[in-house]
Chain length 303, copies 2
């Protein structure tokens, strides 16, 4: 059974709030949960809802020092762009026994920020992680004790991490019902560039293309089911996706260039009226897509 | 109120069957409906279900001649690639008073096939059309009297068509509950290349890219909600999409090349780490996609 003395969560929204609720309500873990926000007020709602025990403002030196002094685990659940300033803020108060982990959607940049902010002496305390949860809803009100059940959590341990620290973070996520998988941060970023970040860019590019067309209105008027599904992700947070695309820039550019090459193959088959090649490619995609669906490759988002 | 003496449908599946049911059960139109299939047996089910009155085999000269002799309207509801051979087969038996229309997903190629098969003397009898209905289900069993309610039907009248003939086909579709809109066949093909055919190619290309990746299994394992929505259309019929891509080749290549240019703009912003440009593009797409959804731009497929 997983237990902890004190967990400090920076950013108590869907991700951090659901972790707190899962550990207490689902896993029955005892231990104090402290939420840190830009202001004490911004985390007050989490206290009201009973998700955390105590709210601390990021700029309150004394309270922050006290909160961190005897924490077992610190979770960063704020946008990835804030990793470096947050860790820099935490570093002076960080106890040598505390393990810090995060929930960012990209990992190479987070590791690089952590190395800068924590320095060579403390980087061993940082175990990078990424819970793969749908972000359709957000905010602490949406937090659920069952959010992580059967979802995947990726950990990207560093060579400097102690085995026991990695094991502790794994045990924490397993206690929420999640399946934990380890890979390198480069591997993580390639995988998510391909199956998550690239589709978002492709979807937005299609909407943007239609917007710029002289007959945009007619096109939107006749857009039906295929367009609806294809562009659903284009409706999510621009700021979040801006940060993700920049944070995972290198891997995303590799996948994007590769995609343009694949598209050139499809284009050549269409231009040459090569029906056999087109049908083969469409049939291959259909089979892969159908098998993926049948294997239950989809974790229901936000459930 | 719409009425007809005899309607002959080539290809009695979802599209043709729903038209027959809508005219009789919804609009209360009297008139005989004849279904033509590759064999009499292939349309026998439609007779059993009461969707049509009579089944005729395409290769039965006498029966086909009799079926066509006093038809008001002929509907081609077979794959677009069959337009020319079907019209060539019909032409010798076609009464000068009969109006022929179709339900093909592409229009320039259909018009060109019709011009070849019907010749200058009879092309005036052909009024090209495209009911925009979801094709998730197929076959006459899926046919519904309410399929076309609030769906859009595009007509692409030819300069040779008589105004009264266009009006009759419009009235037929209006009687099913559909909204009818006219445009040129070139305009039609541009619109659907953009909002339907291109998304299909883009979706298949992503699945194909992942399939070819050395870490394909890992990528499929971690694919979640965005991937699911983005690639849903990749699971539809390879033969149908092959035919559509080839039939609408010219317009599709124009849209595809334009898309690659839009993608190059996104790529440049990512490469330059231009967060402002990315956020602006993502925000623009989100607003357009959200407004589209709120305007009710989606006609529920197959309802």
């Amino acid at each position: 059974m997983f237990s902890f003395n004190k967990l400090v969560i920076f950013g108590v929204g869907l991700i951090g709030g659901s972790l707190a609720r899962a550990l207490r309500e689902r896993a029955g873990a005892k231990g104090r949960v402290v939420g840190v926000g830009r202001s004490a007020q911004s985390v007050a709602r989490a206290v009201e809802l009973g998700v955390i025990d105590e709210a601390v403002a990021l700029d309150a030196d004394v309270a922050l020092a006290r909160a961190l002094s005897d924490a077992d685990i610190v979770l960063l659940a704020a946008p990835v762009a804030q990793t470096e300033p947050l860790l820099a803020r935490i570093a002076p108060f960080l106890d040598a026994r505390t393990i810090v982990t995060d929930a960012g959607s990209t990992k190479s940049d987070v590791v690089s920020s952590a190395r800068k902010a924590l320095g060579a002496s403390r980087i061993k305390q940082f175990v990078p992680g990424h819970p793969i949860a749908g972000r359709e809803s957000s905010g602490v009100e949406a937090a659920l004790p069952e959010l992580y059940v059967e979802l995947n959590v990726v950990l990207c341990p560093l060579p400097e991490n102690a085995a026991a620290d990695i094991e502790k973070i794994e045990a924490m996520w397993r206690a929420t019902g999640a399946c934990v998988r380890q890979m390198s941060e480069a591997q993580h970023d390639r995988v998510f560039a391909s199956v998550s970040h690239l589709p978002h860019v492709l979807s937005c590019a299609l909407v943007d293309q239609i917007l710029a067309a002289p007959d945009a209105e007619l096109k939107f008027f006749f857009a039906a089911g295929g367009f609806r599904d294809f562009t659903r992700i284009a409706a999510s947070s621009p700021e979040m996706w801006r940060d993700i695309c920049l944070a995972n820039r290198t891997a995303l550019l590799v996948e994007l260039d590769d995609y343009v090459n694949v598209l050139a193959r499809f284009r050549a088959a269409i231009e040459a009226s090569d029906g056999a090649a087109l049908e083969e490619a469409f049939a291959r995609s259909r089979m892969a897509r159908t098998e993926w669906q049948e294997r239950g490759g989809i974790k229901p988002a936000g459930k």
